[in-house]
Symmetry: C2
């Protein structure tokens, strides 16, 4: 039932395109779901993709365009004329059109807009371009259904039929007053099952209406939609006037992107990588993290070389180097991950930084005492009680230190509007490696009296 | 506009509950959105929560119950009688009821079901309990709207009105034949704007209908809904008979849980932690990872102690211990993260394992040569060309080795139905630390001729 793209299919298709066998393409490609057509176009050359794209009807073109891989889409759009781009934008939802337009240069944006025939659509897009893309204003679309509170059901259906032409997915109708202020929400289901003479005022839900403001962050929108189980949320301006709506599918994309980004930063892959990317691109994406690791390792070598004398006298000190660095890194990443996750959830009542730090220090204290006790016994058997004391006191100090650093850095990054997830990556580990080594060897020198 | 829960509000509420001031509670709590009421109940004691809960009307009770924190809900349900639980289940969507019931013991499930008054609801729930919870069957709900292809619009509206009582969120109507086989989909919008005499057969969309099978995995369902931009997807059995539907909000929960789990495993937090969990619980959640790190560090110490003679003769060998372990860990985590992400996306055309390994080895080769060259120069300045060769050859070997291990382990875990995300955590890092150290000192011994 579901289409599966195979290499054989692609080979045949390429040949049919070369032979311009339009009939075959109509019967085998154009009948497919737009998402499947987009998947096929992703794999074709620009010229081949264009050949198929312009065989499709306009509405489906818009759907396909939004389903293409981002780099395929950019490449594809770059090969179109200004007029062709303008035509494509008119078929898109306003938020999608604004996203695509936002990728172009100032000059090109102007040109494309001036070439659009549908003034209303152009105006909507220009309006959306004013909002920051990570806010509700930047996420919302201008296509939604609205009904006046005084309309009866039959008039509402007539009016909505006009509005509905542009609106692809309908979940709710927003109810407004004369000044376009949001008063409530009416489900399509309720409308469908009502008497045609009933007034909207008697049908709609006005209690506990959840809306977001244009300036709310994308994280807040995601949190609100999740908390209140919403499929679409109305967007209002500062005067509570209805200006747009955000649907759950757009937020799902946002949630997935954010989660992927956090995971990638935590595991050292700095740019999103397609499954079939070239080896060179994959290698390049991983290099920044590795180079930071290399520099951290070099700094670590510098620290240890400063204690060369200690190692010559007590070689057993070298045994526990990996343990100290690994534990500092682990604790640091754990502490920062907790903070990053809280921040990503848009937690507002985050408590003050000092409270957070105290908590992490307490957790560090608890785990530090436990782990230090275990390692004392182990180090004792590797050497003697003296080695046991050096390793366990160092480990304890490093754990507390790493917990505090791990908590502090993402909070500081967030304060300066830098993505706090950066902290779960190489910075914390490298920083903790170097400070951990310094703490370890200093304590070693002191306790051994070197 | 949106409710913000404060400590002051909670303090007053607790007092009002103690004084049984029902009027105050009605005016200040029961008027709130159910998600806000749930947020309040999460913070109250079981007795306080029950007092408020049973003041609420039945439909809202169900909404509140599903919004409670999982441990609060478990505690809450445990304090109810069998009959009370049975009553609560009747108000829930079938999938939610089955989830809750699934948490109870076999015996208690039997008892609860026998106490349910609504036989149809009980039957639906029992049916859903048969499916594995991570499949489409386990995720689907029995509440959906369906229309027969031969009905005209007016009869459809009458029939749907009956069905719609139990269906909270309506997006689409599924169209079936006499044998209940899925033929297509009809949007509520289309139905609303159609002539009452028109037959469903002339209205519905039959091309490219996307459905999932009861046995499809949750990952597959998420991938299908995302690819085809669906808000709800019909679930069919092996005879293509319509048996349920899955809505996007349920899948969003699944996507978020999976992403959180992967992030937590990658950063060493083994159980999901609430923001206000006790310090003891937070500490305990992080211990497993740290203990594995401790054992890994001990193994590392064991390896290094085996080469104590080498360190005594060439102390500079100790300088680069942190670099070797850090780089092995980094490369391993990167490789495993890529595999984990591909697997999480439900990628089916994953290519064979051998191809994947070759690719990772090639990436490792590229980055290995580059990083080894850099470290040669650095190590040369720390010591001499001999140290440069030891460190750079070791680093190169460790990088290739870590890339292969990092790719292989999640694939093997996945093959044995163990969550592959486990691999991005401590196992890879610890394994790579130990093997890396062994490689490093062995190469050191060989090149220095010790």
């Amino acid at each position: 039932m579901r289409f599966e793209l195979t290499k054989d299919f692609l080979d045949i298709l390429r040949q049919k395109i070369a032979e311009q066998e339009i009939l075959w393409i109509q019967e085998n490609v154009l009948v497919l779901h737009f998402a499947d057509v987009a998947e096929i176009l992703d794999k074709l050359s620009n010229e081949e993709a264009k050949f198929i794209y312009f065989l499709v009807d306009e509405d489906t073109q818009a759907d396909i365009l939004m389903e293409l891989d981002e780099d395929v889409r950019d490449r594809f759009l770059a090969s179109l004329t200004i007029k062709e781009i303008a035509d494509q934008l008119e078929n898109l939802d306003s938020n999608d059109a604004a996203d695509i337009l936002g990728e172009l240069s100032e000059d090109k944006i102007q040109e494309v807009i001036s070439q659009m025939d549908d003034d209303e659509a152009a105006e909507d897009i220009v309006d959306l371009l004013n909002y920051d893309e990570d806010t509700a204003g930047g996420l919302m679309q201008k296509e939604f259904l609205q009904a006046h509170i005084d309309w009866p059901v039959n008039r509402t259906i007539v009016e909505l039929r006009k509005q509905a032409e542009d609106v692809e997915k309908v979940y709710n109708i927003f109810v407004v007053d004369d000044s376009n202020r949001l008063l409530g929400v009416l489900s399509l289901k309720r409308l469908l099952f009502s008497n045609v003479k009933t007034k909207i005022a008697d049908l709609y839900q006005s209690k506990n209406i959840i809306s977001v403001n244009t300036s709310d962050s994308a994280e807040e929108v995601a949190a609100v939609m999740e908390k209140y189980d919403l499929v679409s949320v109305p967007v209002v301006d500062y005067q509570n006037k209805l200006v747009g709506r955000i649907t759950l599918d757009d937020i799902v994309d946002f949630i997935k992107e954010e989660a992927d980004k956090d995971f990638q930063l935590a595991t050292g892959i700095t740019e999103p990588i397609e499954r079939d990317a070239s080896i060179w691109r994959v290698a390049r994406a991983r290099l920044p993290w590795l180079i930071i690791g290399l520099l951290g390792g070099t700094l670590g070598a510098k620290v240890i070389s400063g204690f060369e004398g200690s190692i010559t006298q007590i070689p057993a000190l070298a045994f526990f180097i990996p343990l100290i660095t690994a534990m500092g890194g682990n604790v640091g990443v754990q502490s920062s991950a907790i903070v990053v996750q809280s921040l990503a959830r848009g937690t507002k009542d985050f408590g003050n930084i000092f409270h957070k730090l105290l908590r992490e220090a307490a957790v560090g204290l608890f785990n530090g005492v436990l782990l230090a006790s275990i390692i004392f016994v182990i180090a004792y058997f590797f050497g003697n009680a003296q080695l046991g004391f050096v390793v366990s006191i160092s480990l304890f100090t490093v754990i507390i230190f790493a917990a505090v650093i791990g908590t502090l850095i993402p909070l500081v990054l967030n304060h300066y509007k830098i993505d706090p997830a950066l902290a779960t990556g190489p910075f914390i580990t490298t920083l903790n490696d170097v400070t951990g080594l310094f703490i370890y060897f200093t304590i070693g020198m002191l306790l051994y009296g070197l």
